[in-house]
């Protein structure tokens, strides 16, 4: 004789048991995950890399203007996916660097912006060397920003570009702290992590990135390092190039011609 209480109990147990999908109990196996890591990543046919020729850059900032427009970064917010830094080294050994508004409007004054409203006048005859360095995401081979993401919202695409999933990002900001190059920021409108993605929508349609297209002097180039005929690959194979902050071990994939020790 089954009581009503027992019947209800058994019914609830059975219903719960039936509803639990087996996949929910899938336990992540570290060994399997480690085996998943392809040491054979080289099978990918595309690996986007970037090349900057600092000798050619004149600091016009048209790249920054184009990038902000193309990628819908609020124009007047003081954040940008790419920016241009100005370095001035004086004869007495001082190093000045600035990037007012990320050089969105170029450099239209001789005075260096020291921050906190302070400006520094430098006489022409005191300058030992001065140059411009465009910066953008290095799309590292070992991206530290991706390693720290607790939810899998930022990741490396098969072609090496590091992307941010705006729907999945919880806005914790770990990645912003982890990037040694300071390329990440919070998007003022979406309140999620934001970064340069080599204009992923353009390069996948066979176009150049907006900054490369905007540059009148050919200071910026994008290419596929897996293609031996690519102009960028040819330069990387035959000329002397450097990368930023190699000591961090992130294996950055933005290469520079004419990099100097003052550049950080």
């Amino acid at each position: 004789m089954i009581t009503r209480r027992d019947l209800l109990k058994k019914f609830v147990k059975t219903a719960t048991g039936v509803m639990i999908p087996l996949a929910a109990f899938e336990i992540i196996d570290p060994k399997k995950l480690f085996a998943d890591k392809p040491f054979k990543t080289d099978e990918a046919k595309v690996r986007w890399v970037f090349l900057v020729d600092t000798y050619k850059c004149v600091g016009c900032g048209l790249c920054v203007k184009a990038c902000k427009t193309e990628n819908e970064i609020p124009y007047d917010a003081n954040v940008t996916r790419t920016w241009v830094e100005r370095y001035v080294v004086t004869k007495n050994g001082n190093i000045y660097a600035d990037t007012p508004k990320g050089a969105r409007d170029g450099f239209t004054t001789n005075r260096i912006d020291l921050g906190m409203g302070k400006k520094q006048d430098i006489k022409k005859e005191d300058i030992k060397k001065a140059f411009f360095v465009p910066k953008l995401c290095n799309q590292c081979d070992n991206p530290s920003c991706v390693q720290v993401c607790p939810v899998g919202a930022t990741y490396q695409a098969p072609d090496g570009v590091v992307l941010v999933d705006r729907k999945w990002c919880i806005g914790c900001g770990y990645c912003i702290m982890a990037c040694p190059y300071g390329v990440r920021f919070f998007h003022p409108k979406y309140h999620v992590a934001e970064k340069c993605n080599f204009c992923y929508h353009r390069i996948n349609k066979g176009m150049k990135t907006a900054c490369v297209g905007a540059c009148p002097f050919g200071a910026r180039m994008i290419g596929n390092i897996k293609d031996p005929g690519d102009p960028v690959t040819k330069i990387l194979m035959t000329e002397r190039v450097g990368v930023l902050k190699e000591e961090y071990g992130t294996k950055p994939q933005v290469y520079y011609i004419g990099l100097d020790k003052e550049v950080r």
């Binding site: 998943d36 991206p143 990741y155």
Partner: protein
């Protein structure tokens, strides 16, 4: 089973089950470790296509402008400004002439000063570009009042 120890245990197990069920429905099926492995490739696969579908704004191809504006194209192509893309001053034109029908031209002095403010920087191409002091050279007037940006040499003066 009627123990004060087991009752809270059942509550905990129940909570775990609820979380697992919620996780099953919340996490999309394309979420997992993909080509780049667990350390760098743990993500929602569909997001790659979402970024690929992002709207393109700039052509950055002067050949696109050639068909309708051949006169401007030819003039510019023979000038030192030939290296500058039309859209750098005329604005993004991916869907022009349908959207927008008329492009907004940046004729500001600041646009010209990006390159033509004199900065005597050795080891940078900037030192080779001729510049003017904006505070002494006709301040307050648009450069294009006298200079033709498509034909910037002195013979092209208006």
């Amino acid at each position: 089973m009627k123990s004060h120890v087991f009752r809270p245990l059942l509550v905990v197990i129940g909570l775990v089950v609820i979380v697992l069920i919620a996780r099953f429905f919340y996490v999309p099926s394309d979420f997992g470790s993909h080509e780049k492995g667990y350390m760098y490739g743990w993500h929602r696969k569909g997001n790659e296509d979402e970024w690929k579908a992002f709207k393109v704004k700039y052509q950055f191809n002067n050949e696109y402008c050639k068909d309708c504006h051949s006169d401007k194209y030819e003039t510019l192509a023979r000038s030192p400004h030939a290296v500058i893309n039309c859209e750098n001053c005329h604005g993004p034109a991916m869907e022009h002439p349908s959207d927008p029908a008329k492009l907004k031209i940046d004729k500001s002095r600041e646009q010209c000063l990006r390159c033509h403010y004199p900065l005597p920087y050795p080891t940078s191409g900037r030192a080779n570009i001729r510049g003017v002091d904006p505070e002494k050279h006709n301040p307050g007037v648009e450069c294009s009042m006298c200079h033709n940006p498509h034909k910037p040499n002195l013979r092209g003066m208006k």
